[in-house]
Amino acid sequence: MADEIATADPSQTETQSLDKVVIRFAGDSGDGMQVAGARFTHASALFGNDLATLPSFPAEIRAPAGTLPGVSSFQVQIADFDILTAGDAPDCLVAMNPAALMRNLQDLVQGGTLIINTDTFDERNLAKAGYQTNPLEDDSLEGFRVVRVPMDNLTKEAVKDTGVSGRSVLRSKNFFALGLLAWLFHRPTEPTIEWVGQKFSKSPEVVAANVAAFKAGYNFGFTTEATKITFEIKPAALNPGTYTNVNGNTALAWGLITAAEKAGLSLFYGTYPITPASDILHELSRHKNFGVRTFQAEDEIAGVGAAIGAAFAGHLAVTGSSGPGIALKSEGISLAFMTELPLIVINVQRGGPSTGLPTKPEQSDLLFSLYGRHGEAPIPVLAAQSPSDAFVMAIEAARIALKYMTPVLLLSDNYVANGSEPWLLPDVDDIPNIDVEFAEHPNGPNGTFLPYMRNVDTFARPWAVPGTKGLEHRIGGLEKEAITGNISYNPNNHQLMTDSRAWKVANIANDIPLMEVAGGEDAELLVLGWGSTFGTIQAAARRARFEGHKVATTHLRYLNPMPNNLGTILHSYDRILIPEMNTGQLLKIIRAEFLLDAVGLNKVAGEPFKVAEIAEKIMEMV
């Protein structure tokens, strides 16, 4: 066993420069593929590559070992230029067992590098994966650059003196694979070794085992010349500044904390665990020193209920979930709309309907978000377009909720939530404050308080929080009399209040950024998207432009109300393409609102669009 990373002249292998490469780690869900992928990503980020990631994991915590449902994977694209997606197809696939190979081989590009843990290819595992014959022994892997590595045995050998024993020994094999890839792609090794030391600092033997396996993997590549060619991907020319690698759930949680700080309020998050939104709860619950209160309620309804209570009490109130949970919160959201309280509702969309595909991305809750409430209840709806944009849009959601005294629905999805990208960090001091003015004095005649006396500009009602002397008042779900807030069954009043609430929300269109178009006005085609398809659409348009086509793109982050210039933009193009991970929900709205014959490209397959799929449609339409 070599203790150190080999550093001798690697002249025996040829180094090839690539501008980008897509790598996928695939293994059993117990094989630590998410960790391996995340560490590879981290090392690449520190090295200076641009990158984007896409994890894919089963809904089962531990599906039976070695089976197809138990396969977990992590894909990362690294590049020396600004890339926009995690890539369509891997150039390099790590398959830790037969099931991982069976599941992922079809995606590997022809001529791609295939790294296989041969120790797992026994009869039992082959049968579990559905192989009739051993792919290592027939011709099914022809056309790929296959690297056969007995990883189980090499890992056992590497960790034998580190103090780990029994089943723990093979837990380090993801680090063996990671080490091998670090060699193959010229990744820096220090960040991984450092991370292992910190992460497992309480168990020195685990640190020793993981580091030994990592080094063994690296050295295996080096000394055996596992492949004739290694690859380097130079740092990308990113904009100067400080970066971090962030996923959407973390960015969203940080955005909420930032919004609360900028508003001078305490943050309250009422929720119930649900995939893929739970990580927002996990992240927020760590930051109690910011005054963040997280409430893991008994159910989704209590989550939104408690948030409504916190909003009434004067906090920045947030509830979060995924589709099924949002359905349960629907009545509560309508109450927040009726009582005109500031509330942020986060929907990290997943494949539906019903339990659907809990760990897969989809954009199928758009119509539900816009219209999924009883009564006339239009609420602002925003959507994050990338992991780091979740930070920005969380702050926007807070700004709008607080300024206009309304619930705001913020859409994310599993692609934004669990995908990651480098984020050029803002200077937190440059983020504008959010002005919040609590009512402190009576606003009516004879010292009375009128809880529905609206601000003339925003139409927001005053926010008078309990504890404020002289402003005692009652609100509720029954229709309110304008100005006084008393219960009213008056027909004209109901019309007035319905119109007032709708107008208040529609008027927010004057307080959001205009749409920006990329690609010029003389383009033959406009591609309109929303949410997590942003990167893929940009990459597809870039590909089409490279082929000489004139393609414009524009992306919606504000879905209700929509930016004022959207109609003008749409009407200035002959052809409009709307790619969505649903059956055509934005398409329906655009056609209805703007009387336009837009065309949809729709995919509901539990996976994001590939760049090629959108590019192909663009080519077809230009």
């Binding site: 520190l46 400080t242 408690a306 960090l425």
Partner: protein, 341 residues
């Protein structure tokens, strides 16, 4: 600062009270207003949260902060207020349908957590606002609009439910007994954590005289079992007593029992078994029925603990720093002079 001097009128609003004439809710409202006036705490520090139902109109008639929310959710909404605002006194007003049927989940979990909430559950054993269907406390066999052949639902005993849900304070009182109601309100107010009070409330329109066995002039003499801490549990003018036998609370003729064997009421017993046994003395208000505080014990309140963790985190980690937060995952810097190779 001196405590404000209030009269009951200070807690009344200008809204016309719209319960049916003769409804028990009027008496409860008067008791609560009177109690709060005498308490002398600034009225802006009170918040009343209700769900849906006749009782849920209550906040509109209290000149405090309030919210008439959605069916069954009042404990959840009130929890959000209690957790964020320890400076307030938060009250939930609910009914048997609101608290035990559509909102049953929130009730039991709020009691389990011991959130600082005072929960008043007006039990009239009927759905009033929807005009007369059976409720989760209606007796089996009850003929109503939705059970013309008699209800086949088995009812909850609200006090048993609350004790089973780990409630730290559980009491029962009667709408028309204003003095007793105010005593229960005072005890609930002084209790740290969740306080649950079942109030027998007569619905004279849809379920009149449901509680006649404990409220009727004749009947109550025989059936109202007053629970008084430190005193042996006797009733019916001293003729009847309650003893524990085979783990059950049992009524016995006082003359046939050694006085030392009579159960002495102690709502502070850490173990809820005897309080639960007392709640089973009658499954509804149909025979000897205990009135008073069944259970009153001290354990940490959820919201106090949440806020303690916040204080500790600030002390240990220092106040939150946004710049540190967004760089906590590790950073790298791209130099302006770099061309990316």
């Amino acid at each position: 600062m001196t405590a404000p001097s209030y009269t009951r009128a200070d807690f009344q609003t200008d809204q016309e009270v719209r319960w049916c004439p003769g409804c028990g809710d009027y008496t409860i409202l008067a008791s609560v207003q009177q109690f709060m006036a005498e308490l002398g705490r600034p009225r802006e520090e009170f918040v009343f949260i209700s769900g849906i139902g006749c009782a849920a109109r209550f906040p509109y008639y209290m000149n405090t902060y309030g919210m008439h929310s959605i069916h069954g959710r009042a404990p959840a909404i009130a929890s959000g207020i209690a957790i964020t605002r320890p400076d307030l006194s938060v009250w939930v007003v609910s009914g048997d349908g609101d608290a035990l049927s559509i909102g049953g989940n929130h009730l039991i979990h709020t009691l389990r957590r011991n959130v600082n909430l005072k929960i008043l559950m007006f039990n009239n054993q009927i759905y009033g606002l929807t005009k007369g269907q059976y409720s989760p406390t209606s007796e089996t066999g009850k003929m109503t609009k939705s059970s013309p052949f008699g209800s086949v639902d088995y009812p909850f005993n609200p006090v048993s439910l609350a004790i089973g849900a780990e409630a730290s304070f559980v009491a029962r009182t009667i709408d028309m007994d204003r003095k007793h109601t105010q005593e229960m309100l005072q005890a609930a107010y002084e209790h740290k954590g969740s306080a649950f009070i079942e109030i027998y409330q007569n619905c004279n329109v849809f379920n009149d005289k449901a509680f006649i066995q404990v409220t009727g002039k004749e009947e109550r003499v025989h059936n109202r079992v007053n629970l008084e801490p430190g005193k042996p549990i006797v009733f019916d003018g001293g003729a009847k007593a309650v003893i524990m036998r085979d783990g059950q609370a049992t009524v016995i003729d006082s003359s046939s029992v050694d006085p030392a064997a009579i159960l002495v009421h102690d709502p502070g017993r850490p173990d809820p078994a005897i309080a639960f046994a007392l709640s089973r003395l009658s499954h509804g208000p149909y025979g000897p029925t205990p009135i008073g505080i069944f259970r009153n014990v001290t354990r940490p309140a959820y919201d106090d603990e949440v806020n303690r963790q916040l204080d500790e985190a600030k002390e240990k980690m220092g106040k939150g720093d946004l710049a540190k937060l967004i760089t906590s995952g590790g950073t790298w810097t791209v130099d302006g002079s770099q061309n990316g190779g």
